[in-house]
């Protein structure tokens, strides 16, 4: 990490909000492992909590951080520093500290209880979702100058991907259940990173009942190895594409 990213990283680690995030994740993970009678149930609970809370925190925190760093950004841009370098340092600083809080909070109990492929997969998905959410948050923050609009958009984004998307998908599936819509289902699933991450973990846990209709179609359609590779590619695309677009906009943005 370069100098600027390091400063941002420590600045965020010192803040109270990341500490609270870490504490909440740790508490919830430990409690769900201790209270559920079987390990797989515990893992399932943790998965649901992780896939619900991590995107919210990463989206909101990153968006707010960018708006609050306006002064910092202006100060550094009047120095001989490339805009791309500043933006990537910001991204590195924000996402690394969020990942760190996740790894320490949820990662440790997961690895203690399940030191195997499943445990590592859940952690990888948590990190992946953090990176994706930060990337989307950067895009939102660079596109809207108004802080309250930006924060509203990132909350909407979270609602959409964690709750609304599934509801809309279900509705569509029921409406068009008479038609062969397998490919459409797979495509729709690909377009939601949270669903993709959940599917990955469910396939690993081998709880086919929890896969749901779309998940069943997905594995049936593509076979588990190929679908794993494909969903990893899509998850990486979800990190890279919003970030690249935000970088491009930031390169030409007027700093008021």
């Amino acid at each position: 990490m370069n100098n600027i990213a390091r400063i941002i990283f420590f600045d965020i680690l010192k803040s109270k909000i990341t500490f609270v995030y870490f504490i909440v994740l740790a508490l919830v993970s430990w409690i769900s492992f201790l209270l559920e009678e079987s390990l797989s149930k515990g893992l399932l609970t943790v998965t649901y909590i992780v896939l619900f809370s991590v995107p919210l925190m990463a989206l909101l925190y990153s968006t707010i951080y960018i708006y609050n760093s306006k002064e910092f950004i202006t100060l550094l841009l009047s120095q001989p520093i490339k805009r791309g370098k500043l933006w990537s340092s910001l991204y590195a600083g924000v996402s690394t500290s969020l990942c760190m809080a996740f790894l320490l909070g949820a990662g440790i109990p997961i690895l203690i209880y399940s030191f195997n492929g499943t445990g590592f997969l859940i952690i990888a998905m948590g990190v992946g979702i953090t990176l994706i959410s930060a990337s989307i948050a950067f895009l939102i923050a660079v596109m809207t100058d108004d802080k309250s609009v930006g924060i509203g958009l990132s909350i909407l984004c979270w609602l959409f991907f964690t709750l609304l998307y599934d509801a809309i998908m279900m509705f569509l599936l029921f409406q068009f259940s008479d038609y062969p819509i397998d490919i459409l289902t797979v495509l729709l699933l690909m377009l939601n990173p949270v669903d993709l991450a959940r599917l990955q973990i469910m396939m690993q846990l081998d709880v086919s009942a929890m896969l749901g209709y779309s998940g069943a179609v997905f594995t049936h359609f593509l076979g588990s190895t190929f679908s794993t590779i494909l969903s990893f590619i899509f998850l990486i695309a979800w990190i890279v594409i919003p970030y690249r677009i935000s970088l491009k906009i930031f390169g030409k943005k007027d700093i008021a």
């Binding site: 910092f72 943005k253 007027d254």
Partner: protein, 238 residues
């Protein structure tokens, strides 16, 4: 040193700069940029710093395009109009941060840092400082890397008379070293003994760019303030 070629800037529909052409030569010049509020002074300065991308036209600094080459800002020290710093950063760490951006420069100009007594408040965070003290930090940062070009946007706003005096001394000293100094101010009287040239802007256009001697001769006044007042009243009657 700085060549500005036919710059236009639109903020959505607002036409902020309407075709600016300027050339600043290096050395022993202190150029005062004067004009009413919202005439485009700050936008012009931001175009030079590439904080704002011109809609049309280009800014060349020492043969490099400011829009594409961040190295052009190696030559510039900038003091913004209302400086905002990260609030949690201490004074000391703010200086350290800016130094860390340019580790290749060991010999920094700490004159203002000492004459403003910033060493006494080095552990305070930027958020707790008064507006005037923030301006002092900002001024000290602008001169830190011995820049060839110093751009000061309303440098005296919020500074007490003593600090203003120190800053003026510093500006004169740097000017004599052959630096190019670009300064904007609403209070024209502050520029009387500093400026060697005057640019007058109005509604995104340059009305004139003259040396102070020529300006005084043309208007028959003794101070820049008087000359500008005369021109303003004349244009009002026309």
């Amino acid at each position: 040193m700085i060549t500005i070629k036919n710059i236009h800037k639109y903020y959505r529909k607002l036409h902020a700069l309407k075709g600016i052409d300027l050339t600043f030569e290096a050395g022993d010049r202190c150029i005062a940029l004067i004009g009413p509020n919202a005439c485009g002074k700050t936008t012009l300065i931001k175009c030079i710093l590439n904080l704002v991308t011109p809609t049309k036209g280009e800014v060349m600094i020492s043969g490099r395009n400011a829009n594409h080459d961040p190295r052009t800002r190696e030559l510039i020290g900038f003091m913004p109009q209302s400086a905002n710093f990260p609030k949690n950063l201490s004074v000391e760490n703010t200086f350290r941060l800016i130094r860390s951006v340019r580790p290749e420069i060991n010999d920094t100009d700490d004159e203002l840092y000492h004459s403003f007594h910033l060493d006494r408040i080095s552990t305070k965070t930027m958020g707790t400082l008064s507006g005037g003290t923030v301006q002092k930090v900002s001024a000290a940062l602008a001169f830190m890397f011995h820049p060839q070009i110093v751009i000061l946007d309303e440098p005296f706003a919020g500074l007490d008379p003593l600090a203003s005096g120190i800053l003026k001394e510093k500006i004169l000293k740097e000017k004599e070293k052959g630096k190019l100094i670009l300064i904007t101010s609403h209070v024209i009287s502050e520029l009387d003994h500093l400026a060697s040239h005057v640019i007058f802007m109005e509604e995104g256009r340059i009305l004139f760019y003259k040396s102070v001697g020529l300006l005084l001769e043309d208007t028959g006044e003794h101070t820049i303030t008087g000359a500008i007042m005369k021109i303003l009243t004349q244009t009002e009657y026309e």
